[in-house]
Amino acid sequence: MTASDEWRPSAAVETIRARAEMLARIRQFFKRIGVLEVETPICSRYATTDPALESFSTRYTGPGAARGRDLYLHTSPEFAMKRLLAAGSGAIYQICKVFRNGEYGPRHNPEFSLLEWYRPGLDYHQLMDEVAQLVNTLTKQPMSVERLSYAELFEDYLDLNPHLATGDQLRQCAISQGVAGAEQLAIEDRDGWLDLLMSHLIEPRLGQGGMTFVYDYPASQAALARIREEPTPVAERFELYMEGIEIANGFQELTGAEEQHRRFEDDNHRRRQSHQTAVPMDQNLLAALTAGLPDCSGVALGLDRLLMVLTGVADIRQVVTFDISRA
């Protein structure tokens, strides 16, 4: 890119039109099934504690904060939407921009569009059905849907049990499967190795010509999903893959305030250990959970990546008007 064409959009006009069409159909879909569209703040005094996510921050100075107050840009609208659910909103969805620092590449732009929705009374398996229905209203033809548990996936592709294998076994697997440079990687935890195997060896093969849902993640990767204890603890979490790309991430939502508080604390502890800064945990979410979050499932779907699949392009820059290098 030269300085002289930096002003131009990185997406083609047809793709910009395809996005508008996609958004219109999504809104129709939710109107038809009776899910309410909402908006929540982008800036919050609280941040996500998840060590895998880095929030951008900004500062508000003015009435109410004469000396200024740090605000974090949301990495997803999850916390605020759960406060709405606890306040009795019923089923809700939101289409918004979210912000994640440090993420830029063919599938990442530090600001991107998310569709997030919550369904009180539906479990995460029913929500997977709904995700598939939504995607099928956007594709030319209905797509095949495949469902595999995280354990089945690792057994099928790599012949190992992801819940029981030791860090060293996972490392050996990465080496024997030819992940270049695996010998020298300084990965301390099992989850890092699982992420390596998943992203390098399994993910590229998922959702070829259809939708692949992966569900029941290791309990250590629960994020905000409920954990089911028997027989091996698993997180009631799912992901949708299409054409080898991670499209959506959903949970049977954790509803317990105490458990949520403990996970926030654990996250911040892990952040300090890996020399990330600890961030203020969302006290309003904890208060909402104490007041009572209805049993619900929720999912966040990356709209830019979905548009990549729908339009058949390989780079996220081709589906956003101006990627960060032109912003």
Partner: protein, 203 residues
């Protein structure tokens, strides 16, 4: 540009680069060899560890390999830069080059000169890649003018219609030339394709 810095002992030390600085053309050290990044891809699960999946050329062997780094890791930079140098002569074991500004000379071995050897003509300017001051890659000029030292003198004999004949040049390179080219003539050759371009005008 090189990013040499001086450490406390006064020795040159290379800067190190974090994965966030990775981009095409960046020169880094890998397993003791200088390498150049060809492609860098950021890979990250939504809720997990980020990696940089990199395609790299080993500048000593020319081999292209892949390597995955944990995002945020740092890698030692390689003191590699390219410079125009004049080819002086070969003593059979080494090929000697001179920096036209400083008159400093360097000698390149067979591994560095490799396939380029057959295009090297004394006095020609070449692009030399130096690692820690020593040549590891020598690229000849895109076009060279060389004398034909041997070729079939006959214009006849080409009944196949292939339109050419082999000619051995003064440097030992063999190229296909049109039938009218004769021993002692100078021709212009494209070193990238190894193909005859034209007859060269005599100076």
């Amino acid at each position: 540009m090189m990013c040499a810095a001086i450490d406390m002992l006064g020795e040159d030390v290379m800067a190190s680069y974090s994965t966030n600085e990775f981009k095409g053309g960046l020169k880094i050290m890998l397993d003791g060899d200088p390498c150049s990044i060809i492609e860098n891809e950021f890979v990250k699960p939504g809720k997990g560890q980020a990696f940089n999946r990199v395609k790299i050329r080993n500048l000593k062997t020319g081999r292209v390999l892949e390597k995955t780094f944990k995002s945020g890791e740092s890698v030692e930079g390689a003191d590699v830069h390219e410079t125009e140098m004049q080819y002086l002569y070969t003593d059979g074991e080494f090929w000697h080059f001179m920096d036209p500004q400083s008159y400093e000379q360097v000698s390149a071995d067979q591994a560095a000169v490799a396939e380029s050897a057959k295009w090297l003509k004394e006095q020609d300017m070449c692009l030399v890649t130096l690692w820690n001051g020593a040549p590891i890659i020598v690229e000849p000029p895109k076009f060279v003018i060389l004398n034909v030292s041997d070729t079939d003198p006959g214009l006849k004999g080409d009944t196949s219609g292939s339109g050419g004949k082999p000619a051995t040049l003064e440097t030992g390179a063999v190229v296909r030339v049109p039938l009218f080219v004769q021993i002692g003539e100078a021709i212009k050759v494209d070193t990238r394709s190894g193909e005859y371009v034209s007859r060269a005008k005599e100076d």
